[in-house]
Amino acid sequence: METIGSLILIAIGAALINNFVLHYFVGICPFIGVSRRVDMAFGMGCAVTFVISIAAFLSWTFTYFILRAGAPVTSWIWHVLRPDSELVPDLSILNYIVYIFVIASSVQLVEMYVRKFFPALYKSFGVFLPLITTNCAILFACLEIMKHVSGASDPSQVWGLDKALVLAIFGGLGFTLAIVMMAGIREELDQCDVPKALRGPAITLITAGILALAFLGFSGVDRGLAALFQ
């Protein structure tokens, strides 16, 4: 019960309370750039969710087994090379470089795979894939996972793969929710008489502010849920 409870809390936290776009401000560029039409926004959201899950899986694996201080694989190699050394190898300085390459290559792999095996799917959201490399939401998910794997003060608090994947998938779904809502509002906004200076990104940002205000209403929900699970 406790594990399922904590997974549900992570999921709700990532998707609603601390929504990637509206609370952490990551992924703003596509949020403003690709939110003119609902179908395009939905395609972008799906593509991000897809890539974020793969990048989270890879970056968790790298962080857990290789990069963090005292990671199993690195420790073993170090032990073989220098059996008498007491030093605990710590490669966490390479974290950021590894993540950005993990993201770039997973975007590349996903693009090739989808193009080859699901041409229809590729047509619908393939065009967004290359753009995703510079989407901060993905790197942000990797960094959150890093915080809970190599930054954990207590060995018992190190996140497992389950938590990492839940955070990534629901973070991606939260992004999809926000961008689709935004696109829906913008389709209506096209009919409105917006002051000339505010047209385009400015009114989009103000609308996003009101959306963020609405999402603020979710804070505190997780604490009530946590009490429920205990």
């Binding site: 300085i93 770039a104 590349q108 510079t134 804070s219 604490r223």
Partner: protein
């Protein structure tokens, strides 16, 4: 971006020209790698000291009479022994965290040597609502935890109360106050349990 995503397979296809294509990246990787290693060697001790001193600096405020602290693991639980100048045990300082209103709250809880009274609490990190919940970090509110007995779990009260195990909730920030109370109660219970287990075995 398109260019980058096309780069990888192209290298593989060319095979023979691999080095010709990629030597610049390899050289750069080598250069940057050694640069980073140097940065790591130079700064890592300072960063580690920062992390530790964040807690150590607070120990004299949290446990009266103590001057330094010693990191220790009791039954898997990370604690700090608060020591006076002669190395006598004056109390315990325990890092603890829990879910607040907005995000995780990270705290330090100070206890006397016999684990009977709370000697102080400190908020290391919080992202509660500015102006409301973030007042949990202010000394005025935190100080009321000083001297509270640990025989019973603490409870919140809405007004000032003379009952020993009551603490007054912040107006407009009941959930943040409750989170702090729960974190303190949890920390006290887990330290008691860990020490009991350690002395039992």
């Amino acid at each position: 971006m398109n260019e980058q995503t096309k780069a990888a397979p192209e290298i593989r296809r060319k095979g023979g020209g691999y080095l010709g294509q990629a030597w610049l990246i390899l050289v750069l990787a080598l250069l940057f790698g050694s640069g980073l290693a140097a940065v790591q060697m130079a700064l890592e001790p300072i960063i580690a000291r920062n992390k530790l001193s964040e807690t150590l600096l607070q120990i004299p405020n949290l446990v009266p009479g103590s001057e330094t602290g010693e990191q220790e693991r009791v039954n898997g639980q990370l604690v700090f022994r608060a020591l006076d100048a002669d190395g006598n045990l004056m109390g315990w300082v325990l890092p603890a965290s829990g879910q607040g209103f907005a995000d995780k709250i990270e705290m330090l809880v100070g206890l006397d040597a016999a684990l009977e009274t709370i000697t102080g609490i400190y908020v290391l990190d919080q992202k509660e609502t500015p102006g409301l919940g973030n007042r949990i970090a202010e000394a005025g509110w935190r100080d009321q935890f000083r001297g509270k007995p640990t025989s019973k779990p603490l409870e919140l009260s809405s007004a000032e109360s003379s009952i020993p195990h009551h603490v007054e909730a912040l107006t407009g920030a009941t959930i943040s106050s409750e989170s702090v109370k729960d974190i303190v109660n949890g920390a006290v219970a887990s330290l008691k349990e860990a020490l009991a287990k350690a002395s039992g075995s």
